[in-house]
């Protein structure tokens, strides 16, 4: 069973960044303090700088394309050819961002001149917001309840059900998409928010495993003393377990929100209508509109920037939480 579940076995092995006890430091720091003694300090220094250089290069590789998208979104679309190799926007303007979310009056002459694509990205962003909320909030609540039952309560069939949850993660999602699509279609939920959110709203295996692991990793004394004080399991869950694990719940909410915000394949199958299409689906159909001619690049990049901004805000606000939870769980 443990073999099937790399995520869960992965978590406890991880150690916090424990200040000076890191392996690299122990090798390096003595020679840095005594540059004259032992080994060849100049060569050593050189390799350190090469290391920093490589890290810097990869940081640039990571952020470079995202910057190019920002640059293009902020450029005047008539400068795309002349400014193709420039790193800064030519004639910086917010016009592209404004036009894709419909802030520009449709009779504005600037909209008439060029071959801009048609997109209501404001609608798409709102749809993404609705989809994310509908998919994530109940998912966390119900997954937390199930995780509590798996972690703490004894009941007939617990091992079997948990094993089935684990086994389900092995099934490629495309296998499930076909019958799920048919189910949603039979329910008459195609092109509705509930149709898009339903498969994520009640549980995801990852959320259950993540929270179960969190619940298991804390001592149960507090819960036991509450039980002795006469609290029922629901009181314990709401008054003890959830407050104690609010940090883990917040982390999971952030991760699940990022994932829902970025979701493409399933919403693309069941929510293609313009009135419900989410951000990623809207970008895809916006790009498909102009498959023949030259795409409306400045408009497309404005959309991608708007699709990145919410995630970027989360990363800036909760960087440490996001990074550390991802590095211990490998969210997939």
């Amino acid at each position: 069973m443990a073999k099937l579940d790399p995520e869960v076995t992965h978590v406890p092995k991880a150690r916090e960044d424990a200040g000076p006890t890191r392996p690299g430091a122990s090798i390096r720091s003595p020679s840095r303090r005594r540059p004259g003694g032992g080994g060849s300090p100049s060569r050593f220094r050189f390799s350190v700088w090469v290391g920093y250089g490589i890290l810097a290069v990869f940081a640039i590789i990571s952020l470079g394309p995202i910057w190019i998208a920002f640059k293009t979104a902020l450029s005047d679309s008539s400068t795309l050819f002349t400014g193709a190799s420039s790193l800064l926007p030519q004639h910086p303007t917010l016009f592209n961002l404004e036009r894709v979310i419909g802030l520009i009056n449709p009779t504005d002459p600037r909209l008439q001149q060029t071959s801009f694509g048609k997109v209501d990205f404001y609608r798409a962003l709102m749809n993404s917001m609705a989809f994310t909320l509908l998919a994530v909030v109940p998912q966390i609540a119900f997954s937390a309840m199930a995780a509590y039952a798996f972690a703490r309560l004894r009941f007939y069939g617990r091992r079997l059900i948990f094993f089935l949850f684990l086994a389900a993660t092995m099934i490629p999602s495309v296998v499930l998409f076909i019958p799920n699509f048919i189910l949603i279609k039979d329910l008459g939920w195609l092109n509705t928010y509930q149709g898009m959110a339903a498969p994520y709203a009640l549980m995801t295996p990852f959320a259950v495993f993540f929270l179960r692991q969190m619940f298991l990793s804390t001592p149960r004394e507090l819960e036991e003393s509450a039980l002795i004080d006469g609290a029922c399991y629901f009181t314990i869950f709401f008054r003890v377990v959830l407050p104690v694990h609010r940090s883990a719940l917040a982390t999971l909410t952030i991760l699940a929100s990022i994932n829902a915000w970025n979701e493409f394949f399933w919403p693309f199958l069941v929510g293609r209508d313009r009135s419900v299409q989410v951000m990623a689906v809207a970008i895809n159909s916006f790009r498909a509109q102009q498959a023949g001619g030259v795409p409306d690049w400045s408009g497309l990049m404005a959309c991608t920037v708007l699709g990145i901004v919410p995630v970027a805000i989360l990363l800036v606000l909760f960087g440490r939480k996001v990074v550390e939870s991802l590095q211990y769980t490998g969210f997939r």
């Binding site: 050819f81 990145i308 990074v323």
Partner: protein, 318 residues
Amino acid sequence: MSVHAQPKVTSPQPHAATPPRRSFSFFHALRFRESYCAWIFIAPALIGFLTFYLMPAFRALYISLTDWNLLRVPKFIGPANFSKLWNDPNFWNSMKVTVLYVLYNIPIQTVIGLLLAVLLARLGRSVILRSVILAPYLIANVIAAIIWFWMLDPLLGFGNAVLQWIGIGRIPFFTDQQLALPTIAVVNIWRHMGLTALLFYTGIQAIPRDIYEAARIEGAGAWRSFFGITLPLIRPTMVFVLVTSIIGSFQVFDSIAVTTLGGPNYATRTIVWYIYENGFVNFRMGYASALSCALFVCLAIVTLVQMRILRSGQSELG
């Protein structure tokens, strides 16, 4: 109010091993009997699991045995879809494309991930640096693909402008039959290298530092301690990273849907794209299901073989 509150306060021990008389009440049992509570707690998730995971898994198997275009009633045809699949050159070609894509992806992604992880562990442990290299992973697949599609646009893209400037000339990355698949692999490597690095970094953090200390005293250099200590000791992480990233790359879809649509000349028609075309463009639900079941079997075999080869259950750290 106080009258209602009275019984609760006065009842000394309302739960536990020797329940008071109220335990005969059904509602009391619902609140205090462990197994009843457990089922209440698990019910919503279980319903979701049965509806959207377990039942569809079996239904997919059933659909794969039918001929069904969504309009008529499904017609049971037995394993005919699977024999058709076995003789379908398009299926084998899509498998070939997918395996090639995985082979482009995994070695490069793993090596870059290891390199970055070692450098992060030795030199830069700041959260900001880790956030920066993780950033591509947090943006949507579709967005990552469209940004690269733009960067490598033959006419206006930044990447091609730079290539032109340094004298290589413009290259139609996404429309060249040879280059399209590697280019999509590059997008994937770009998006995943940070996550891979972070996972390896965590694995390295878990190695006790006195092992490195001992190796240093024995005179082992940086390379020696990497191949002799780091690499063997992060094997559980390695298994995890390889298994998840291979499974993930086998299922590539988003970046193809937004850039090449399986082209040019089927050079990027991976297995999941082929399933999508069959099921959701041509509405051959039975055949698409059969293809997806074949994908599942392939992934299960690949995973088992990997776990066996890499002895995932054991760790030298104990």
